[in-house]
Amino acid sequence: MTPNYLSLLHALLPEASLVLGALVVLGFDLIVGRRHDLAQRTVYATVLGLLAVAAAVYHSYDARLDGEVFGGVFILDSLALATRVGVLLLTALTLALLPGVTRVKQPAEYVAIVLLATTGFTLMAIAQQLLVAFLALELASLSLYILAGFDRSRPESAEAALKYFLLGGISAAFLLFGFSLLYGLTGSIALPEIARQLSVQAMSPLLLAAVLMTVVAFGFKAAAAPFHLWAPDVYQGAPPTSAALIASGSKLAGLVMFTRLLWSGVGPSAGSVATFDVVPGWVPAVALAAVASLLIGNLGAIAQTNVRRLLAYSAIAHAGVLLLGVIVAGKFGPAALVYYAGTYGLATVGAFGVVAVLDAAGVGGSFADLAGLRQRSPLLAFCLVVFLLSLAGIPPLAGFFGKFAVFTAALKLNGLASWAGWLSIFAIAMSAVGLYYYLLVLKNAVVIPGRPDAAPIKVPVAAATALLLATALLLLLGLFPSVVLRAVS
């Protein structure tokens, strides 16, 4: 192991840009911000944040895909690149929602913490070692706890942050415990080495415990049942932009990190659900979580009357499909998973963006409050239709192809002669349920007329741009999914 600091620096330039950006945002606000009102300070912070993200994107592309960096601590492969660009894009969209929309009183701090969280995400995307992975995850998680509680004017926000923090802390403990067991069993924290060691070890109770603890932490991160309990409260209580980030960038990065961890690290102990004879390992556990998520997410969503809680349950339901994507990533690669998580993130950021704009305009969060949205803001109504239909999986929007790719892969494992196959059939069936509750929202937004005296809702330019960009991306990626698939594989 010969550390090459230059290549390390080069590989981590995106993260460096983000951290630097965070500092600049804070400093600029400190120096210049005093002379300006809140709205302008928000704009400055946002613009600087976006510049930092742009720089990070540039450096991500600039970094060569030369595989392992710094003795295998990091890995720069196509998956890493695609994930980095993906989370950066999602962050940029989230940031663009801030000006004129957010109620946050300290915009610079908010943007800085978003950038730090993003740093955590991009590190998660390239981590190939338990310790770095854990640190990256914690960086992201801590930032997100703060973001969840940032709106000090509303007690729900604090409640959300606390809930998120407590459950997140427990899951971090699980993860750390799992990691230490893995280290103990294999004597290494590098994923390739762990895999090598495990491939000659039989499944032991200790190993199973280690693997299951990792899965628990993963389930928490992905908001998969039965570790989903935080999601509805956090999604509802946190500021909408924070919720957007939690549901999108964080999810994409977490999935990629855990997929890498589980397959290229603990892969030999994966077990299998590719037949009806289950081989014990983490895959059956993930499969169970997927079933539970699909069931709880979809059925729970039906009962919701609040848009944000609905999005939370929809996130749980989507986590079910994402877990299925993790299962199939071992055989068919993570392309479908990244596509699904990325486009899901786009649609969710968009949906929360609409929620944020509505929130800023004083519109409540229940379905009934959406009535007449079409008259009050055709743009928001149109975007909401696109986002929710993409979440429901209607072609030609990207959500459809994501489902298609994951289900196809799951069925390719062994047709219907496997639990995986039936799991995907179950997921397909559940998607029909999904359309129902998305249409309930859309019914209120588009079909039911509002009060005639309801004032039009003004959408700030940046938010409008972000929403339209997300809409266009959902359509384009849906029409040309190969762009993403090719970038990952």
Binding site: A429, L439, P481
Partner: protein
């Protein structure tokens, strides 16, 4: 010929234009919609004029789309799809004409309407199962909004039920197609490739996949017992949407059964054939009997659609070239006739009398106050009951011939179906329009005096009705026009694998 894909694109472009134009003025949106629908029809007719019937699909576009999954954007046409494309063109044009009076959110209405049409054209032109499915789903969502926003009775319930049934059906189709794709190991979604690979699968798997795909499509075709969305949806929908639903969208399901389900798994089909035929017959008879006792005018027509689509499914189940040819002809014929029936009920009668209850209509001498509507409905009713001289007759006769060839008993039951259809159609005719005929006696009202309360029938209504009537009579007298397209198409190897012993 190669202009056919433009039917899709023109429709989507028209949808966008109509949406924009709707912000300016309703009349512009209307004109855009009519121009778009006419352009689609013109493209279809021009292509039809240049069409040379033959076995197999004639490729229009074939480019790689999603290489990772072997998906190609492959559009192609044969006699069957051409028949249905012409139907779509006609139904779309008539639908626009019958929605000329939509005042609320006109631009959005026509945008959704044309988007639906575009999806329908896409389904009929797709040769790749994935492309097929994508267009199929695109056609689902606009229906919800069309019904929920512009519909009538119980519209939100009807719309949701319809969309969820459709979507559940398409979920079954998706599951089946993916299973087939995964199990066959073929890296292609072309129906021929899937079929070739599927033939290698074990019989049990073939039966399973066939059941999924066929059931999925049959939901949309209104096959008993999955038909319950159809009457409520049709009744709730605004006129143009009911016309399209019954006229074209139900055909999507039947077309999917024919184009995808049957050729894909002939072995699976053979296993399920008696079940399908039984359900088809049950649908014909059950829906007919229900139609006979309905008190809501539109429900009668809604159930009659289910009953008539039963004939289509029966034709498919009989699986020889006469029966299937007849089924395609019936799809065309029913598309036109159902459009006409819904137009009369929804547009001409309901929007003037504001009631669809027979008990109310019985009191109105509608044949005197709306002679044109009465005449149109009588003609449509005759066509619907399979009178010779209208397109329903050659279709039903061909289906009967084909069905008899496969199983005489089925044909016998179908005969009952025709009888019931005559009974409920006639009941509707006589109760709705001729409910209060004055007995012969003095003081007759001058028959052509328009009733003061009802606005006269407008020119778009007349134009639309004439278009549909002319089509059904033309095809009734010259079914060869369509059969000469359809029959050669059925000689393609894909269909021959499933159609046994049919020589026309």
């Amino acid at each position: 010929m190669n202009a056919l894909p433009w039917t899709i694109y023109v429709s989507f472009a028209g949808a966008a234009l109509a949406l924009l134009a709707g912000n300016r003025a309703a009349s512009v949106a209307r004109t855009v919609a009519l121009a778009t629908a006419l352009a689609g029809l013109a493209l279809a007719l021009v292509a039809a004029a240049a069409f040379k019937p033959g076995p197999g699909l004639q490729t229009l576009v074939d480019v790689p789309w999603i290489a990772e999954f072997g998906i190609r954007y492959h559009l192609a046409v044969d006699g069957i799809s051409l028949t249905l494309i012409v139907l779509t063109g006609i139904a779309a044009t008539a639908g626009v004409l019958f929605s000329w009076n939509i005042k609320e959110r006109t631009g959005e209405f026509f945008a959704l309407y044309l988007a639906l049409i575009g999806g329908v054209y896409g389904v009929f032109l797709s040769a790749d199962a994935f492309v097929f499915f994508v267009y199929y789903e695109i056609a689902i969502v606009p229906k919800y909004f069309l019904i929920a926003i512009w519909g009538s009775t119980n519209r939100e319930y009807g719309a949701m039920k319809l969309v969820l049934y459709s979507f559940a059906g398409s979920a079954l189709v998706l599951a089946g197609l993916l299973w087939a794709y995964a199990a066959s190991g073929a890296n292609s979604f072309a129906v021929a490739d899937l079929a070739a690979a599927g033939a290698q699968l074990s019989p049990g798997v073939q039966q399973g996949i066939f059941a999924l795909v066929f059931t999925g499509f049959a939901v949309l075709a209104g096959m008993f017992p999955f038909h319950t969305w159809a009457p409520t949806g049709h009744v709730a929908a605004p006129t143009a949407a009911s016309m399209l639903l019954a006229g074209v969208v139900m055909k999507l399901g039947a077309y999917g059964c024919l184009r995808v389900a049957l050729p894909l798994f002939p072995a699976g089909f053979v296993y399920w054939q008696p079940v399908i035929a039984t359900l088809a017959i049950a649908g014909i008879l059950y829906a007919g009997c229900i139609a006979l006792v309905q008190e809501d005018f539109k429900f009668v027509i809604g159930y009659s659609s289910v009953s008539h689509m039963g004939f289509v499914i029966l034709g498919l189940a009989a699986a020889n070239s006469q029966a299937v040819g007849g089924a395609v002809l019936q799809m065309f014929s029913h598309g036109i006739i159902a459009g006409l029936l819904f137009a009369v009920v929804g547009r001409m009668v309901y929007e003037r009398t504001h009631t669809r209850q027979f008990s109310d209509l019985r009191k109105l001498p509608l044949h005197k106050t709306m002679p044109f509507a009465a005449l149109t409905f009588v003609l449509a009713g005759l066509a619907s009951m399979g009178m010779p001289g209208f397109s329903g007759f050659p279709a039903e006769l061909t289906i009967l011939i084909g069905t008899w060839k496969t199983a005489p008993l089925w044909a016998g039951f179908a005969g009952f179906g025709i009888l019931i259809a005559a009974a409920f159609t006639l009941r509707a005719v006589q109760v709705s329009f001729f409910g209060s005929t004055e007995p012969a006696g003095p003081a007759p009202a001058a028959p052509h005096d328009p009733h003061p309360d009802f606005e006269p029938i407008t020119w778009p209504e007349k134009a639309g009705a004439l278009l549909l009537i002319a089509t059904t009579v033309y095809i009734g007298l010259k079914p060869d026009v369509l059969l000469d397209w359809i029959t050669p198409a059925l000689r393609s190897p894909l269909f021959q694998a499933v159609l046994k012993g049919g020589q026309l």
